[in-house]
Each structure stands twice: as structure tokens, then as C-alpha cells.
């Protein structure tokens, strides 16, 4: 079986499981998984640029912000419908990606990464300076909802499955792209840019293309986030933590594998919630039972400690670890 087929297979199984889980999820978990899907989109978007070409961006949340504020503010103040503002937001994110890629690609290694870090910091200041319009750190409510139902549960389902559709579409496209010839070249750039140029490849063109695709994917996620939250919310559109977590998700899942980033997204957003759930349990020890509620406060800490352990044992990430095991078995089986 080719690697491409394996990736499509894993993607297919994952999205089918996520879709099938929907009706069985308690409200709390449905919200968690809705945001996990959103985050998985961000992580895959990060992966197609940084995971594949090795140009590590710390500032991808910037593209979320450009797309999110564009659609949110145009909808809020100009009363434009969301079917117009969402594409506009995405276009703005792509334009921002293209504008940024040209000077950024002249920089190598840590210089590139540092510049990407400055971008969301500058954008955050701008949002605060323009607080009259943007709502600053508090955000602005009253943006049109993605799903127009008055019933809470119907809305929740609608949000969940809208993001599911977006995530599935993006996942299929990116897995296809990453295993196409373009993907092979992006990987080659990561492994040895000089040799790629020497093979007659215009590496700058490919990196700019990856930038545009990446900004488009992350921007799409950003626009959905705004209309699901019905607000332009600073903490979800310009949080540096989210920007860093995109990297964590991709690294945990396996950089440059796309499907790995998707898994990583679920792991990062879902893992913490699992620990919080465990904290609700009582261990049947003694007559009273041992409450685990003390874990609640430690959930985030425990979660990150577990991630560190995971990275220690599977440095390349989960997906390559799994594929490596499969391959070993194949070789042993002859």
C-alpha cells in the first residue's frame, strides 16, 4: 500500500469516527470537539507550510486574525452577509500570506521564525489601538451566526457538522496536495534547499504557494470561528498560545504528515478535557471512595507533562511512529 493510500485511509477513518460520534456526545463534549475540529484545521494549515517545508512559523494566528476580523467587522458594521464576508476574509488572509511570504522567504532558519512571531504581536497592538471598532481585548459581539437556528441543540449540531465538513474537505485536499509532486518538492526543500534548486526547481515559487495555501486554510478556520462565536474575540483570533499550540499539534502528530497534525489537533484540544473528565470520577477505594477532583486544577499541567513524555518516546510524532511499526511488521513478515 502506498503512503498516500495509508494517509487517505487514516483520514477517512478519523473523520468517519468524528462524524459518527456526534449524536452520542454530551453537550460539553460536543463543544470541546467542535473547537478541536477548528483547531485541527489550524494545525493542518500550519503543517502544509511549516511542517512540509521546514520554515517554522510561530505566527500563524495572524492569518486567523486577518480573516476573522475581516469577516466579523464587515458583517458587523457594513451588514454584509456572511456568504460574502467569509470569502473576503479568506482572500485577505491569502493576500496577507503572499505579501508576507516575499520578504520572509529571504530569511532563513531562526530569522524567519522570529519575524513570524512579530507579526501577530504587531497585529494585536493594532487591534487594541483600534479598540473602538475591534472591541480591543474584550472583543465585539453581535456578529452574524454561522447557524441560524434558535434552538441551542440544533445550533450546536449545525456548528459541529459545518466544521466537520470544512475539516474533511481541507483534510482531503491537503493529504492529496502533500503526497502530490508539489508535496514531494516541499519536502525536498525541507531536507535540502540547495539540492532542490540544483535540480532545477524554483524553490521560492513553491514556498510562496505553500504560504498561500496555508494562509487560506487557517483563514477559513478563522472565519468559521468568528461566526460560531458570533463575535470577534481577541483571545481566539490573536492568541499566541494558539499559535504555539499549532506547532505542538503538528509535532506530536508528526510534522509534514497532515493527518498527524489533524490527530495532534484533537489530542491537544481533547486531551485536556479528558483529564478534566477523569477528575470528576471517584476511585472505589475505601468506604467513601477517593475523589480525583484535585486533578482538576492540575489538568493543563498534567496534560503538557504527558505531551513531553510522548515527545520523548516518539520524537517524530505519533503517525510516523505508527507507520514505522507497521513497516517493521511487514519486513518481519517478509
Amino acid at each position: 500500500m502506498s503512503l498516500r493510500a495509508i494517509k487517505f485511509g487514516i483520514l477517512g477513518i478519523t473523520v468517519i469516527v468524528v462524524a459518527a460520534l456526534g449524536p452520542f456526545l454530551p453537550a460539553k463534549w460536543m463543544t470541546t470537539l467542535t473547537y478541536a475540529q477548528l483547531f485541527a484545521i489550524y494545525a493542518m494549515g500550519w503543517d502544509i507550510l511549516s511542517g512540509m517545508t521546514g520554515q517554522i512559523s510561530f505566527g500563524h494566528i495572524f492569518f486567523v486574525a486577518v480573516a476573522g476580523y475581516t469577516t466579523g467587522l464587515l458583517n458587523l458594521y457594513m451588514k454584509w452577509p456572511i456568504w460574502a464576508t467569509i470569502p473576503l476574509g479568506v482572500v485577505m488572509a491569502v493576500v496577507a500570506g503572499l505579501l508576507f511570504s516575499v520578504p520572509a522567504l529571504r530569511l532563513r532558519g531562526p530569522y524567519f521564525s522570529l519575524i513570524t512571531l512579530i507579526l501577530p504581536l504587531a497585529a494585536a497592538r493594532l487591534v487594541i489601538i483600534l479598540a473602538d471598532w475591534t472591541g480591543g481585548e474584550l472583543g465585539k459581539f453581535g456578529v452574524a451566526a454561522l447557524c441560524p437556528f434558535s434552538d441551542f441543540k440544533a445550533n450546536q449540531y449545525c456548528n459541529y457538522y459545518s466544521l466537520w465538513g470544512l475539516m474533511t474537505g481541507i483534510g482531503l485536499f491537503l493529504v492529496w496536495l502533500s503526497s502530490s509532486r508539489v508535496g514531494k518538492i516541499l519536502e525536498a526543500i525541507r531536507e535540502n534547499e540547495e539540492a532542490t534548486e540544483a535540480a532545477g526547481i524554483n524553490t521560492a515559487k513553491y514556498k510562496i504557494f505553500a504560504f498561500a495555501v496555508s494562509a487560506c486554510v487557517v483563514g477559513l478556520g478563522g472565519t468559521f470561528s468568528v461566526h460560531i462565536n458570533e463575535s470577534v474575540f481577541f483571545n481566539s483570533l490573536l492568541s499566541l498560545t494558539t499559535s504555539i499550540e499549532m506547532i505542538v499539534a503538528s509535532v506530536i502528530g508528526g510534522m509534514g504528515t497532515i493527518v498527524g497534525a489533524l490527530w495532534g489537533g484533537f489530542l491537544v484540544r481533547g486531551g485536556e478535557q479528558v483529564i478534566r473528565e477523569v477528575a470528576q470520577l471517584k476511585v472505589p477505594v475505601g468506604s467513601e471512595g477517593l475523589a480525583l477532583s484535585f486533578l482538576e486544577r492540575w489538568a493543563t499541567f498534567i496534560f503538557f507533562a504527558l505531551l513531553l513524555v510522548l515527545l520523548f518516546f516518539a520524537r517524530q510524532g505519533l503517525l510516523p511512529l505508527l507507520l514505522g511499526l507497521v513497516k517493521k511488521r511487514e519486513i518481519r513478515g517478509g
Binding site: 509532486r181 508539489v182 514531494k184 518538492i185 519536502e187 525536498a188 531536507e191 535540502n192 540547495e194 539540492a195 532542490t196 534548486e197 540544483a198 535540480a199 532545477g200 526547481i201 524554483n202 524553490t203 515559487k205 513553491y206 504557494f209
Partner: protein
């Protein structure tokens, strides 16, 4: 018509003049040796031709078209390919995938030809796969082996395969024998000879004149970035200036 023409090329790094007003040309079908002691500016000349470095002065023509300030990929597309002195490869791609990169067209949106036949051909021409397995056979080591597992000679073959995969009219070989065992030197010379017999034009850099005498039609001797002598291997070997430079620089 010269295939490659270099005119009064000059490049300095700070106060060091690495290439000083160098002119030479390469005719189609020729093998030219660019010879000189270490630090004579040979690799710099290759970097200037490939667009990796920009010259301070001078011009480079390929098939009578000026390519002086072109980016590398465009120079490769025009028909010049280069094999690096220190092997440059993709460590996590298989040998086959390493060669495949040069067979992939430089187009994102246009659906172009399948790179497989070209890749297989390049592997076969450079003997990357043993004769009993053709490279399209899944049992061929090319398909599973990573470049890190190859001996030095194998890496040189890999680089040659990737270079000829771009269909070069001119092949630049930077010290193709450096770091090879005597047996590997023989193998790679045979490979270069077979490419020459197929009509491939080659410029070959080496600091050792004796090793390339047999392979080349013409030699350009560099010393401190300047052209010291030019001619057939016999003429150059008899040249007193060359002998002096080499003796002064530690001998042949």
C-alpha cells in the same frame, strides 16, 4: 559556437580576490578540466556559473545567451547541471525519490509528464541499481535504500543521476573523485567516460591533474583566481609556469 563562454569574470570576498578576470570557453562535446591547487577559485567559478554567487564583474554566456544574473533554477532549466563536491542529498527520501526530484517539472498548476520513466532512465544510466534489477523493479535497492546507506561512490552516482535527470547540455563536476577509494575512482571515471561517449559536454574541477589527464580534452589551469595556462593535457603538463605553480603549491 561555444556552449559556455565566460568573459573576464571577477569575484572577491572582502579583500580576497577569488576569481580574477577569468575567461574561458567550452565547446559542445568537449570535456574541459578546470585544474588548480586548493584555493585557486575553482569551486567559486562553478558557483558563479550556477548563479549561487553573483560576480563583481564579467559576463557568462550559455549558448550565446547571457545568464550572468539568472537564478539557479533558471540556469538549470537552460541546460547546466552541477554535481557538488560534498554530496547534497535528501536524507529522508529514498535513493529513487532523490533522483526523482530532478524529473519533476518546475510547474505547480500544469499537469506534466510522469517523472517515473525519466527517473528510471537516470538511475540506470548512472548504474545506481545493479544490472540484474531494473530500477522500476520494486526489489531494486533504489526503492528502499536511503542515501545515508550508500558508500561515497554511490552518493556520487546519486548526484550524477539527479544532475543528468535535468537533461543538461553542460555538466559541471566539482571534484568528482574527492573522498573516493581507488576502486571507486575507477568506477566513477568509467561512468564519466561513458557519459562523454554519449556526447555529454562536461567541465570537471579537480586539484589533481594526473587523475583527470585521461578524461579531458582540454585543461584550464587556475592559480590564485587567475588563468595560468590553457591547452591539451600534454601542453599544459609541459608548461614551466604550471610546473612551478604546482611545485610551489605542494606538487601535482
Amino acid at each position: 559556437m561555444a556552449l559556455l563562454r565566460v568573459e573576464s569574470l571577477r569575484k572577491s570576498f572582502g579583500g580576497l580576490m577569488a576569481v580574477k578576470d577569468l575567461s574561458f570557453h567550452v565547446e559542445p562535446g568537449e570535456i574541459v578540466g578546470l585544474i588548480g591547487p586548493n584555493g585557486a577559485g575553482k569551486s567559486t567559478v562553478f558557483n558563479l556559473i550556477m548563479g549561487i554567487l553573483k560576480p563583481d564583474r564579467g559576463r557568462i554566456f550559455f549558448k550565446e545567451q547571457e545568464i550572468t544574473y539568472w537564478p539557479t533554477y533558471k540556469i538549470v532549466d537552460a541546460g547546466i547541471a552541477r554535481v557538488f563536491q560534498i554530496a547534497q542529498y535528501f536524507p529522508r527520501k529514498t535513493v529513487y525519490e532523490n533522483v526523482e526530484i530532478s524529473a519533476i517539472p518546475n510547474e505547480i498548476f500544469i499537469r506534466a509528464a510522469d517523472p517515473a520513466p525519466k527517473t528510471i532512465q537516470s538511475c540506470a544510466r548512472t548504474g545506481l541499481c545493479p544490472a540484474e534489477h531494473s530500477p522500476d523493479d520494486d526489489r531494486c535497492l533504489c526503492r528502499t535504500e536511503l542515501p545515508g546507506m550508500l558508500p561515497q561512490g554511490g552518493l556520487r552516482r546519486l548526484e550524477l543521476a539527479r544532475a543528468i535527470g535535468t537533461d543538461p547540455e553542460l555538466l559541471l563536476l566539482d571534484e568528482p573523485f574527492a573522498g573516493l577509494s581507488p576502486a571507486e575512482v575507477d568506477e566513477i571515471s568509467h561512468l564519466i567516460e561513458s557519459l562523454r561517449d554519449e556526447g555529454q559536454t562536461i567541465v570537471l574541477v579537480d586539484h589533481n591533474m594526473r587523475g583527470v589527464m585521461r578524461l579531458v580534452d582540454r585543461i584550464v589551469v587556475l592559480c590564485f583566481g587567475e588563468k595560468l595556462a590553457e591547452g591539451t593535457p600534454e601542453e599544459v603538463a609541459r608548461n614551466p609556469q604550471v610546473q612551478e605553480a604546482y611545485l610551489a603549491g605542494g606538487g601535482f
